[in-house]
């Protein structure tokens, strides 16, 4: 099934939830509302679209813009051999989004990573805690307002 057809059918089904489908460098980007993420993703995961693989999940911090954060999802369909990028905007005041951990198992760790690095809260995540940084680390390192060299040692360093 072609990607254009998938997007057409998606537009028919979730007409008011899709904010736009811009094309960049040959890739379609699906901009959607936050509350419809689970429905749209579930719809895409089923046959005949079969976007059965969550390739990647990350976040971008657009500091100084409103909404400030943007979640980026990459889905992959093995039978149709195509990728799809979905984006959801998040405002800094209400930094919450539905967790995909119930649909994909790797979403568990990927969402923990985003929580660790950006502080996004995932509703329905089984065990949301830091993954790369340690307990006692303050702040979210990949946010633009976190200084590059601000270190928070766990033990007393020599010299």
């Amino acid at each position: 099934m072609e990607k254009k057809k998938v997007i057409e059918e998606l537009k028919q089904k979730f007409s008011e939830k899709i904010k736009g489908v811009p094309v960049q460098l040959g890739d379609e980007i699906l901009l959607i509302e936050r509350d419809s993420l689970l429905d749209i993703v579930q719809f895409l995961k089923d046959k005949p679209y079969s976007y059965s693989m969550l390739l990647d999940l990350t976040c971008v911090d657009y500091k100084g813009q409103e909404p400030r954060f943007e979640m980026v999802y990459h889905l992959y369909s093995i039978p149709n051999v195509q990728r799809l990028r979905i984006k959801v905007s998040l405002s800094e005041k209400d930094l919450r989004i539905d967790s995909l951990a119930s649909l994909w198992k790797n979403a568990n760790w990927l969402e923990r990573e985003v929580f660790d690095m950006f502080g996004v809260d995932f509703k329905g995540h089984p065990d949301l805690k830091r993954i790369f940084m340690y307990d006692g680390f303050e702040g979210y390192p990949l946010r633009k307002d976190y200084p590059l060299r601000k270190r928070q040692p766990r033990i007393q360093l020599r010299k």
């Binding site: 971008v60 980026v72 990459h74 990728r83 994909w104 568990n108 830091r130 990949l142 976190y146």
Partner: protein, 442 residues
């Protein structure tokens, strides 16, 4: 600090900590186990001991400067990491490397893939007690690194693949070295198969241990040899061919059961295919165009001598430090657009135009500036789909760079893989996932 497993564990069971400083945990991973005797009831994997802030530091480097950081992501196959990053930026810039460079890229990434698989199997077998396999594999890897070193000047962290092509042309005598490496690697592969394939100790520890079904593998986002061992046909080189993979003939080996032994077997077969690809690429690679410039150039000493009497008209031959990176070869390997290619060293040292070009390339705020937008591009890395997601805001450094690390997805399934098995089964299972700290924790 109480971990999840401490809260969940029942009172009768035994809690055991493994790692991070444990010989089989490669120093960068920790597994907390809940045990009933020797059987694993539950486990929790903790990663992040090698988190080096790759993504943050890349936002503070220019597109050209952050190339060395990509080397150190998956340090067993650095050239594939270079290739993934470089091709993402090329996608944003809308450029393509010359054909000869494409073939060199394919050869280099296949050599890296072999060295990746050799290292993975060396560690896996050594931790099962087969030390000979480790020594043989490292020996074969040395031959492969010799080829890489002859051309790129470094053994591991090469930064060889550049935006717009590759850094230098292949070394003049590369064919002999490469052929020797292929012969030696084939010999070693045959030896390893002889040592392991029917070895009852190895079979007992790998056959039917940690079986992963295709559905689970897809749900965990597995790619690469681990996914193919479960029987799912997905290879980025076939699904969306990059470089010149569509012109080369190779097969994608698949497993049947998805256990540890299949993961070993798929890697072994993949190395055979990689060797095939290298041989084909060697044959098909276009010849370098004869470089006229190099013939007419003067040695610096001669030029100084001649300049005492009259103005020197000819080019001056200056060592560009790496063989095959002279200006005459740029057309074949690197393209000539001044916006994204470092000017040849001969120009930088001898002409005012060249030095301005050099200055504009490295000056802060200049250099490579992809248009505003974002791109995702993936290549087939040693562990699977290695994707880069780059957001550009039109300046000379990426606004956001995210790496889709295949290893991260594979290790996230470890808890499920070892559940219900014995403690001793962790070692081959963990070995077969090919955990690479730099890629996992970034």
């Amino acid at each position: 600090m109480t971990t999840r497993i401490q809260k969940e564990a029942s009172k009768e069971s035994l809690l055991l900590n493994m790692g991070p400083s444990h010989p089989a945990m490669h120093g960068t991973i920790r597994i907390m186990l809940e045990l009933d005797g020797e059987r694993i009831l539950n486990s929790e994997v903790e990663v992040g001991y090698l988190h080096r802030g790759f993504e943050k530091i890349c936002e503070n480097r220019t597109y050209f400067n952050l190339l060395p950081y990509t080397d150190r992501m998956n340090y067993v196959s650095p050239l594939i990491n270079n290739l993934g990053y470089v091709m993402t930026v090329e996608k944003m810039l809308g450029i393509e490397a010359p054909e000869r460079a494409q073939y060199i890229r394919v050869i280099m990434s296949e050599l890296s893939r072999i060295s990746d698989h050799l290292t993975c199997l060396a560690a896996m077998a050594m931790e099962c007690g087969a030390f000979t396999v480790f020594l043989y594999n490292v020996k074969a890897r040395e031959y492969i690194w010799d080829v890489i070193e002859e051309t790129t000047g470094a053994r591991m962290t090469t930064s060889y693949i550049r935006i717009g092509g590759v850094r230098a042309d292949l070394h003049p005598g590369y064919k002999a070295v490469l052929k020797k490496a292929i012969v030696e690697t084939r010999k070693v592969l045959k030896d390893i198969r002889g040592l392991l394939d029917k070895n009852i100790i190895y079979l007992n520890r790998t056959r039917d241990i940690a079986i992963v079904s295709p559905e689970t593998a897809i749900s965990y986002g597995w790619t690469g040899p681990c996914l193919r061992s479960t029987g799912v046909y997905y290879d980025v080189r076939k699904a969306s061919p990059y470089a010149v993979y569509d012109q080369l003939d190779f097969e994608v080996p698949l497993g049947e059961r998805g256990d540890n032994f299949d993961r070993y077997m798929v890697r072994m077969k993949e190395m055979d295919q990689s060797l095939r690809i290298i041989e084909q690429a060697m044959e098909k690679m276009p010849r370098p165009s004869p470089s006229k410039l190099m013939v007419e150039a003067l040695e610096p000493a001669e030029a100084i001598k001649a300049s005492r009497t009259k103005r020197v008209e000819k080019e001056i031959k200056l060592s560009p430090n790496l063989e095959g990176s002279e200006r005459g070869k740029y057309l074949d390997i690197l393209g000539t657009d001044k916006k994204y290619v470092v000017p040849p060293k001969e120009d930088t040292y001898t002409s005012i135009e060249g030095i301005i070009n050099h200055f504009k390339f490295f000056m802060r705020g200049h250099g490579i500036r992809p248009p505003k937008g974002e791109a995702y591009f993936s290549v087939e890395g040693g562990n699977g789909e290695l994707g880069y997601y780059i957001v550009s805001d039109g300046t000379d450094r990426p606004y956001r760079l995210h790496l889709r690390a295949p290893c991260f997805h594979i290790v996230s399934a470890l808890e499920e893989m070892i559940k219900g098995h014995y403690i001793a089964d962790i070692i081959p299972t963990f070995g077969s996932t090919n955990m690479i700290g730099g890629e996992l924790d970034r």
